[in-house]
């Protein structure tokens, strides 16, 4: 299997506080990986370190055989290969739905306007938002915004999709529509790395579940194994608390 991203000995500190400690972890092509763990365990930080929204304090991130933490590496170019979906959606407020999905393709990937809009519409259709292409973000519900955010990331044709708690800021009745889109993407063979609190969803779509606690990866494996028959006490305790 082809490794897309390989993380070696990654660490991250905010001042004295060590958030990630010697994390080793990789994502294979076509794999759906769910990162679980209690808040403050470092799972979101790990995801943000992968696309360098947080600068790691040490270690290496290998992409295409190159360590992107090298000083001279083109960070902007690397980021176009990763699609990021945020907890707070972060749609561009000054642009409408279609423009949100076009701007990166046009300005960063230098695609023509025509090609960019075709691609944008294709993915807006995938997430079921093509009807609302003229709407501004402020006119949409949370679930709709998140679906647009997913389409915006997909339109860049990334190698990996990163999801940072994509449903945590949503009203309960809107969680379903976003998870449904993500299920479709997983079924289509997209490589996905998902930080989530939705255990049911993880069990259903993940090829691999990674449990993190206090900045280290405690346990990882197939969802049936990690979620149903955890080996470590910390995993057991966490699952007992969340699956109640």
């Amino acid at each position: 299997m082809e490794t897309v991203i390989d993380i070696k000995h990654l660490s991250k500190s905010f001042g004295q506080h060590e958030v990630l400690k010697d994390v080793n972890f990789s994502v294979q092509k076509g794999e759906v990986v769910c990162l679980i763990g209690s808040s403050g365990s470092g799972k979101s930080t790990l995801l943000r370190c992968i696309n360098l929204l947080e600068k790691p304090s040490g270690g290496a991130i290998i992409y295409n055989g190159e360590n992107i933490l090298d000083d001279k590496h083109d960070i902007e170019k690397y980021r176009t290969h990763l699609g990021m979906v945020f907890q707070q959606f972060n749609l561009f407020n000054n642009l409408n739905v279609l423009e949100n999905c076009i701007v990166g393709q046009q300005k960063v990937l230098k695609r023509s306007k025509q090609e960019a809009s075709e691609k944008a519409l294709k993915y807006l259709k995938v997430v079921g938002m093509e009807k609302y292409q003229h709407a501004k973000p402020r006119q949409l519900s949370g679930g709709q915004k998140q679906r647009v955010a997913i389409a915006r990331a997909l339109a860049m044709d990334p190698d990996v999709m990163l999801f940072d708690e994509p449903t945590s800021a949503l009203d309960p009745e809107m969680v379903g529509e976003v998870l449904k889109v993500m299920r479709t993407l997983a079924a289509e063979g997209n490589t996905m790395l998902i930080v989530t609190h939705e255990m049911e969803f993880a069990r259903e779509v993940a090829d691999r579940v990674v449990f993190m606690d206090k900045g280290v990866i405690v346990e990882e494996g197939a969802p049936e194994q990690v979620l149903a028959d955890p080996k470590h006490d910390r995993t057991k305790e966490f699952l007992k608390r969340t699956l109640k």
Binding site: L53, N96, V103, K107
Partner: protein, 242 residues
């Protein structure tokens, strides 16, 4: 003070009032635009993320220090004094600026100093998520600013910019100290000739009020226009089903 006198003064002097109003408006509008450009420039310079220690960062620091001095000086001194200093200091060195140009320089630089803070505040108030989302799709700092942040800043600071315009319309009156023929200066000349101070300045007052009122309304309209319609068109993709 009588209504008839006001009419008579208007009848005799309306070209002068009109010319004064025109100069006032021209200075206010042009220097607000100049000030907005200065403000955006400084606001952007001040929010460039500090990179690692390098020659470029050093130059930027010195440059930003100079800009800060400019902002402090122009915010910390009265515009009337600035007008005197700019005009007469240059005059002492043999540079005789056209009075209208001197007025643009003074009001423009003054507005720029205030706009710098307004723009900086506007940039700082944009949610961090907007930057992160732009970075996440591979935009560099310049692209992020031009395509995502500044359009939002421009919209958000429009009310404050309008405020500056209204203030400039009124504050151009201090330029009479360097004999710029704006509305206040013209009114003073008219009143000096006919000795009807109360009536002449009542007219000036009304003209100022009309100008500021119209300016405020126009800006409100512009805000509405920038916000776009409240509703949006739903693209009908299932038309064939009907």
């Amino acid at each position: 003070m009588s209504f008839e006198t006001i009419i008579t003064i208007l009848e005799n002097n309306w070209p002068m009032f009109l010319r004064g109003a025109y100069i006032t408006l021209a200075i206010a509008v042009i220097s607000t635009i100049i000030g907005a450009f200065i403000g955006f420039f400084i606001g952007i310079m001040h929010t460039i993320p500090a990179a690692k220690r390098s020659f470029k960062t050093g130059v930027l620091k010195i440059f930003n220090f100079i800009l800060s001095v400019y902002v402090e000086v122009f915010r910390g001194t009265p515009m009337m004094v600035q007008a005197m200093v700019v005009f007469y200091v240059l005059y002492a060195y043999g540079i005789e600026l056209d009075r209208f140009v001197a007025a643009l320089v003074v009001v423009g630089l003054n507005t720029g100093a205030y706009m710098a803070e307004i723009v900086r505040g506007g940039i700082v108030s944009i949610d961090k998520g907007q930057y992160e989302a732009a970075q996440a799709i591979g935009m560099n700092h310049f692209q992020t600013m031009v395509f995502i942040i500044l359009p939002q800043v421009a919209r958000n600071i429009l009310p404050a910019t309008g405020n500056q315009l209204v203030m400039n319309i009124k504050d151009t009156s201090v330029l009479s100290v360097i004999s710029v023929t704006e509305l206040f200066f013209q009114t003073k000349s008219i009143a000096g000739a006919n000795f009807k101070y109360a009536e002449s300045f009542a007219i000036a007052c009304l003209i100022y009020l009309i100008m500021t009122f119209i300016a405020t309304r126009l800006l409100r309209l512009m805000e509405k226009k920038l916000d776009g319609p409240d509703s949006y068109k739903v693209e009908n993709t299932t038309a064939a089903a009907k």
